[in-house]
């Protein structure tokens, strides 16, 4: 669809509009990226006093290697995030499937509400309620102990909501004729899912995995409510340090995080673009061969 050639009937000329648009976008991006840039620059500041530049140094990074608290937190967070992502994707795919494929089932409204609510519900509420439930269960049965497992449960709840949204969007856009064709050719429903549906939603499953991984890695409130002694996640370590004031070790962690995320996004975008090109090329070849 081409952009319409708008004739200016108003006070503002098209040129002004264009520069206004560019200016707004530029200012917006500066706003979004300014904190990140500041974090990175000050991570090389040779002074524990914030905002006073005293020379270039990498000592905060070398100090990180010896920072047991942070490293232990990082390791715990990575493990929890991994399991959260895996669980969220499984539950999210099931929920997305239920919402898209099955138009009517008893209690669908409640289901939809429960699936969407964690997206917006304040985390303090989710954290408190989940903790109280787990404590009640623990008092009755002696299980589970508060720790990595309980943190995982909380993150899973949040992750599932996000995963469902992502996968559902893709599932809804799928052409149902492909699955119907497979069934006409004799495939059982499970085969239809694994051989036809799953490959088509594979990319959104991957995005959902990465999204829930990031979410879990970054979570503060749920982790604080649901953690136990000895299970301090990295965000909790950062949060307790940040509460006390400005701390260059946090800047160093931040810079590493930004570098990893930026690389990941660039690589992912490249792979997605390449995937798209290959797919359109294959489909064009198939239609040429078939025709």
């Amino acid at each position: 669809m081409n952009a319409p050639r708008t004739r200016s009937r108003g006070v503002l000329s098209p040129a002004f509009n264009q520069w206004f648009a560019r200016g707004w976008l530029a200012a917006g991006y500066v706003f979004l990226f300014l904190p990140i840039v500041a974090l990175v620059i000050y991570s090389f500041n040779d002074s524990p006093i914030p905002n006073k530049w005293a020379g270039f140094t990498t000592r905060w990074y070398t100090a990180l290697v010896k920072d047991r608290e942070m490293l232990a937190g990082l390791w715990l967070s990575l493990r929890i995030a991994f399991y959260t992502a895996c669980g969220s994707v499984v539950l999210g795919t099931l929920a997305a499937f239920a919402l898209v494929k099955y138009r009517r089932f008893t209690g669908r409204t409640l289901f939809t509400g429960m699936v969407n609510a964690p997206l917006v519900m304040p985390e303090v509420i989710i954290g408190l309620s989940l903790l109280l439930m787990l404590v009640s269960v623990q008092r009755a049965t002696g299980f589970p102990e508060r720790g990595a497992l309980t943190i995982w449960m909380g993150h899973l709840l949040l992750g599932m909501a996000y995963a469902t949204v992502v996968i559902q969007a893709r599932l809804q856009d799928l052409n149902p004729q492909l699955e119907e064709a497979a069934m006409d050719l004799g495939a059982r429903p499970l085969q239809v899912f694994t051989l036809v549906t799953l490959p088509m939603i594979a990319q959104s499953i991957m995005s959902a995995w990465l999204l829930t991984f990031t979410l879990s890695l970054d979570d503060v409130v749920l982790s604080a409510f649901l953690s136990g002694p000895g299970s301090t996640t990295m965000p909790l370590v950062i949060f307790s340090r940040a509460r006390l004031g400005l701390n260059p070790s946090v800047n160093a962690v931040a810079t590493i995080t930004v570098a990893v995320v930026a690389t990941g996004i660039v690589v992912a975008s490249y792979l997605i673009a390449r995937n798209e090109r290959n797919r359109t090329r294959d489909m064009a070849a198939a239609s040429r061969a078939g025709g």
Binding site: M1, P4, T6, S8, R9, G10, L12, A21, W24, L25, Y29, F31, F33, L34, P35, I36, A38, L39, P50, N51, K52, L94, Y102, F105, G107, F111, T112, M114, V115, N116, A117, P118, V120, M121, P122, V124, L128, S129, L132, M133, R139, M153, L156, L157, M160, T164, Q172, D173, P189, L190, D218, V220, I238, F239, A242, V253, A254, V261, A262, I265
Partner: protein, 315 residues
């Protein structure tokens, strides 16, 4: 032949139904246990009495008498205590302000993104996603640095004499002091939730049929009128989605008020946290949570309805 086909269809349907039970049942059961049940427990504990570290049973049976003991004193306390009321009100105001500023900055942003050259749009989107994927905790922490003494933003604001304006509005405690104030809180929250406003708006605006605008202009509308009478009403769903995605979590925010807020900024999320972690008063924390849920029920219902509508439209 007919009976064989009939039994085949029956077994196929049975298998399908069984699979269907698993597909719907698993997430449903999980949500009931881990989402709904906890809320009911919170409700119960908010009316329970604490006995040391244990909760007294709400329903007791002794001497042939079944007794239901509901302690409503926490709720009474909340309604009577001025501070709680002020805190709830203040949280709603901060959340509304954040939503307003996110809309103010985010709508034009999403609009210009959607009207940019199609070739550029994926890159523009990626640039919005990048901060979103970077830890929000670290970015909020960064604002502590930017707004503290000699921070970049602090220096710029002081240079532009904006602190006089903010001081006059009661948004900062003193000249050149931007941290731990209503200003820093709203700035931090707007910054954090801006992508949540931009993304649904962009999704909505990008799908808009531009020929409608052409038609409006052919009918004699100025660009300005076309915008207000065509674009904005069509993007209403995106506006609502974005606003709810910002407003509802902001009401109960804890991390941002804790890092960027101060003694002046009353937020109910912090109150809940303090009741739970500092006072160890679990019934009180539960009561605070229940009242918070009641406050956000209406926006929650709006959000839920939008989600359901969006689903229907896609079919």
């Amino acid at each position: 032949m007919k009976s064989a086909m009939k039994s085949a269809t029956k077994s196929l349907r049975a298998m399908f139904t069984r699979g269907r039970t698993v597909v719907i049942g698993t997430p449903y059961a999980w949500l009931l246990v881990f989402f709904l049940l906890p809320f009911l427990i919170v409700l119960k504990i908010s009316v329970s009495e604490m006995d040391g570290v244990r909760f007294k049973d709400v329903l007791t049976f002794a001497d042939g008498l079944m007794q239901l003991t509901l302690k409503f004193s926490n709720y009474v306390f909340i309604t009577q205590d001025d501070l709680y009321f002020k805190t709830y009100w203040s949280s709603l105001i901060y959340a509304a302000s954040t939503t307003f500023f996110c809309l103010l900055i985010g709508y034009p942003f999403a609009y210009f993104m959607a009207r940019a050259k199609p070739r550029l749009q994926p890159a523009l989107l990626m640039l919005v996603m990048l901060p979103f994927w970077t830890s929000f905790l670290l970015r909020v922490y960064a604002w502590k640095g930017l707004l503290s003494e000699n921070g970049w933003v602090a220096d710029v604001l002081t240079f532009l004499r904006i602190d006089h304006l903010l001081l006059a509005g009661g948004l900062i405690p003193a000249l050149d002091r931007y941290m731990n104030s209503p200003f820093s809180l709203v700035l931090g929250m707007t910054y954090t939730y801006l992508p949540f406003m931009i993304l649904p708006l962009y999704g909505n605006l990008a799908k808009m049929d531009l020929r409608l605008l052409e038609a409006a202009q052919d009918l004699g509308a100025t660009a300005f009128t076309a915008f207000w009478k065509v674009t904005v009403p069509l993007s209403k769903a995106g506006i609502i989605a974005g606003s709810m995605l910002v407003f509802i979590p902001c009401v109960g925010e804890f991390v941002i008020p804790e890092l960027l807020g101060g003694p002046q900024t009353l937020m109910i999320g912090r109150v809940l946290w303090d009741e739970f972690f500092s006072n160890n008063d679990w019934p009180m924390a539960s009561t605070v949570a229940v009242v918070m849920i009641v406050l956000i029920l209406v926006p929650l219902a709006i959000f839920n309805r939008y989600q359901a509508q969006a689903q229907e439209l896609r079919r």
